[in-house]
Symmetry: C2
Subunit: 626 residues, 2 copies
């Protein structure tokens, strides 16, 4: 029995971190993004009244930006029903639907700016990508409102796409230059009950990278010169089943792999699932920052080589972490393996949420792991949180990512609940046979040494699986106060007739961990990263003064946990003893005398919260004494 994300309405988060972000989304991120979409022409573009010479020509990826906001609005509406917001959403949906062409096509750029180029340059344009995000928005709108208007519109669009693409004679044998539609088509198949949409997704995945290479043919047709490794940048250098290394544009890769996992699951495709597992392994054990960031190079926003993870020159796009999170979610729900849950919580507490300020209106596109006084190396991008970007995929992605946080924390099946992240929450999950599993989780996870799930009502013959994170130190589990064994699967799994008041506890020694990287990661060699549970820490100049490279952290010590100054209530800082080095000869840049050391205190805060207290320097990897 496969797992699914829990229905959005079945969980109310109560913790101080994830619930804060979920609420922030509806209150701030979404209204702000609508405003920016409006100001920049991203909404008006759906009126299709743009004419050459006018400003704000609809850009090839604009549809996707607004689609992500609409998806977020729909998801947020499920969490916070509101007639007013429903009305606003429906009006936007009407506008989007009005842009559909008689044949089902729906893309503002290729309808008004360059209609002659429809489907002509998949390798560089974003038509199928935009279609995918619109489909996801339509499914969310349907789930939130029950209205089929948007859903039917996008089903028509998908029907039209299916008439254009395929292996049959007369069809284009193409596939997306920017993947995303694969996973969206699977959602569309679920919402409509029509398997032809997942068949189309399967086609896109199976066709990708086949020979002769479609993108190479497109390049040839357009008389452009194929940049080196271009098909690899788009994960189309060989059939996806033959791919074992995560390559190319990291966001594209994450969405593709998510779609591959969906198809592997739906079509019981063991070979494809094996590919997904290998790619996940390659990413997480070779090409991922300790924060969960992926895609280390600005050049193509892409994966580079194994262990090439520079900190001060990281790229690690926010969207790429979100995409990896989506991939891990599918893998978790297919396989039930706890390592996928562990990656998800790493992203939720570090990589995927570092990109949004506590205000909800400022963002990182690029996530540095080390920032000194240096001006940002990556041209137009900034090392300070920014209000918006010309390519504003990351802010709009948060609109639809944050309302889903509970669906990463909890999975379900018809007869039970899986607690992937035992975060404080109230759960009221409908099970098959009209049962409801009602439970409460308490413990201030990940910041306390005990967390507990308590049944709030009787529930016969149901399974509860609670994850026991591998990073727990000396964990002990109790059922109704009696110690029970923990096996190595990473799950406490109980099927029984639950009684109101039953409880499962896990306690452990809450203490920071020193993480070492494989020393082939050049920038991390000789350094440690501090972690407390799934939370990766960083030192920031606000707490430690400038010149963070002068700090030395002995790894053998008892760390102290203290409230973090100037950060949201409940945020825990790690306090450590260390040393500060200075040049032996003052004023000499280079000297044969070794630097001098004086004892000092080192304070680390959660990485995801850096840059929320004004301009600062920051580093995740601290020079270690070991």
């Amino acid at each position: 029995m496969k797992l699914q994300p829990v229905p959005l309405k079945s969980v109310k988060l109560h913790d101080h971190y994830l619930s804060f972000l979920t609420e922030l989304c509806g209150e701030s991120v979404i209204p702000y993004s609508i405003k920016r979409c409006d100001e920049t022409g991203r909404i008006a573009s759906f009126k299709l009244d743009w004419k050459p010479g006018m400003p704000n020509a609809p850009h090839v990826f604009w549809d996707s930006d607004f689609a992500k906001v609409l998806e977020g609005m729909a998801l947020d509406l499920m969490l916070h029903p509101s007639d007013e917001r429903r009305k606003e959403l429906d009006e936007y949906v009407d506008l989007v639907v009005s842009a559909q062409q008689p044949d089902g096509y729906l893309n503002t750029h290729f309808t008004v700016v360059e209609p002659e180029n429809r489907w002509s340059q998949l390798f560089v344009n974003h038509e199928l990508y935009c279609a995918g995000h619109l489909m996801e928005a339509a499914v969310a709108h349907f789930r939130a409102t029950g209205s089929r208007k948007f859903l039917d519109c996008m089903a028509r669009y998908a029907d039209y796409i299916a008439s254009v693409f395929g292996t049959e004679d007369g069809k284009l044998k193409g596939y997306p230059g920017h993947e995303e539609i694969e996973l969206a088509l699977c959602k569309l198949a679920d919402a409509t009950g029509n398997r032809k949409y997942s068949d189309l997704a399967k086609y896109f995945i199976d066709q990708r990278g086949q020979s002769p290479n479609y993108f190479e043919m497109e390049f040839k047709r357009s008389n452009a010169q194929l940049p080196p490794n271009y098909t690899m940048d788009l994960q189309a250098h060989k059939p996806v089943r033959e791919q074992r290394e995560a390559v190319g544009h990291a966001v594209r890769a994450g969405y593709l792999y998510t779609g591959m996992a969906e198809i592997a699951d739906r079509y019981n495709d063991a070979e494809l699932l094996e590919t997904c597992k290998a790619l996940f392994e390659n990413i997480t054990e070779r090409r991922m920052y300790v924060t969960g960031g992926i895609g280390s190079s600005i050049s193509g926003e892409k994966f580079t080589e194994d262990f090439d993870l520079p900190n001060a020159f990281s790229y690690a796009e926010s969207c790429a972490s979100i995409a990896l999170c989506l991939f891990a979610q599918r893998m978790l729900n297919i396989t039930g393996e706890s390592k996928y849950a562990e990656l998800i919580e790493l992203e939720l507490y570090s990589g995927a949420t570092a990109g949004i300020a506590r205000t909800g209106t400022e963002f990182f596109y690029v996530n540095l792991l080390e920032k000194d006084k240096r001006p940002m190396a990556w041209g137009h991008l900034s090392a300070e949180r920014q209000p918006w970007f010309d390519c504003s995929c990351c802010p709009t992605n948060y609109c639809r990512f944050l309302p889903q946080l509970s669906q990463f924390a909890f999975s379900c099946k018809p007869d039970g609940l899986q607690i992937n992240i035992p975060v404080d929450a109230a759960i009221e999950l409908p099970l098959e046979g009209g049962r409801t599993l009602k439970a409460t989780i308490t413990g201030n996870y990940p910041y306390a040494n005990t967390f507990r799930v308590t049944l709030d009502e009787d529930c016969p013959d149901a399974e509860i699986a609670m994850r026991v994170p591998s990073w727990l130190c000396n964990p002990i589990a109790w059922f109704n106060g009696k110690i029970v064994p923990i096996d190595r699967s990473g799950w406490l799994r109980y099927r029984r007739d639950w009684r109101k008041g039953d409880f499962l506890d896990v306690s452990h020694e809450l203490k920071p961990r020193c993480l070492f990287a494989d020393p082939r990661v050049s920038d991390d060699a000789g350094k440690v990263a501090l972690a407390l549970g799934p939370v990766i820490y960083a030192v920031e100049s606000v707490d430690n003064g400038d010149d963070l490279s002068t700090l030395l952290l002995p790894v053998n010590q008892e760390f102290e946990l203290v409230p973090a100054a100037g950060l949201p209530n409940g945020t825990i800082a790690i306090k450590a003893s260390g040393y500060r080095e200075s040049a032996a000869v003052s004023g000499k840049l280079y000297s044969t005398a070794r630097p001098q050391r004086v004892p000092c205190t080192i304070t680390a805060i959660p990485y995801a919260l850096w840059g929320n207290r004004g301009p600062s320097s920051m580093r995740v990897w601290i020079r270690a004494l070991y």
Copy 2:
């Protein structure tokens, strides 16, 4: 009595490194550069027959490229007189001179491509820069051949420039967007005996950065938006005398400061000299790689912030090191302070000669201090030595830099010789009063533990100053076999009636030094660089295998000196004991277990010679145990 570079003909280098490069220049670098200049249209451009629509439109900086090659040819001709080469050079000179306009103007781009824009956009174009290099070439041609043709041509050009620029009414109050002409005009003044040319250089220097800012006015006129810090990028954000930090484009800065030193010297301008000293200090103690590389950022090829010296993402343009070398040479000859000689030898053995392969036909534009398997971060540039560049300033700069090496090693005054770098050489220096100082230096500096200067003939009442490098370990000096004291000035200075056979020895313990950077240099903290004398070392994968970040070097050890495998005869490698780290848990990218260490041998070779044995990884800064 001020110092001058020795006349080129007065020194014959005999060492294995500098003389190799000097010979390589005439045999390989210059003929190769002529070929590339020819192929790319840089020579034909002086025919002024380019028309719109034709390929190879003369570029704004092409004149400077060919000028540098001509200067190199002339310098090389002084070292290696040859009728054939003289004829070839004269033909090129004829061609260049033929491009002079009736008013004296000489610039191919602004004569045939956009004549309407002459002098209109100094902030971005390179007119005065090209003029400067042509003047230097003309002076060298005059010195080499005695012909005044090119010199007079460039004097006419300078006369014309002086009629265009100045503070007088009706003149443009502008100055170069790319400095260089200042130092060239001083050379022109010397060669012609006409002080008006150094007056013009003084004007350019005094006017630079005055208010209202000339570049800002140019931007305003062209309706362009001034990029942030643009005037600072060109060292024109304030009057040069008020500048205390080296900012902006590093090559421009180096040439400007060289010109400033020239003017400070010629006009006895103590304030300007003080500025030069402060800028030199700021560069060398805050903003310079241990190799002598400067300008750490590709963004504007410029200086950034104090201690911002990333190794794997260094820029450190070859031309910038050459420019710094020129600046240090002027400061040395003005002040006699040994620290300037020390910087010169650092550049000659490391930073300024790393950019040229031992073949003489491949070059680094960018000098990385650390290269892993990562693709080059800096776009079109490569981490492998390249045959040429679209902007090929560095290869052509070597054409004229390498023949001058002896002039960095030795300075002179009317009554004596100053040995800045006691490199093996035969010297026959004319002194005033018809005397000749004839001496030989032996000892295989910098690679042996004794070096000696021996008088080959009597020479009455002359001074010999021999530098005693500050990095010598326990040096002892002898005069004719008797120990003499060494004071802290850095010079052994003797004035006497020299007899044939007199000799000065300096001996020392030749052993590698471990250099530590100020730990505020983020990338160097916890690491050491190995140096042997002025030679900065690097570890290369050819000798040490890949994954150089896994190497650990204990600093307290006796290093071994061995011949370097696969590098030119005489090259010394440093052999050390160290450790290689590997991940504690195989296949885990991050782990709480500290990496494991196994003993290994570490071999370092001179940094300037890396990348001469096929593709490789390299790093200067090695993780240290101390």
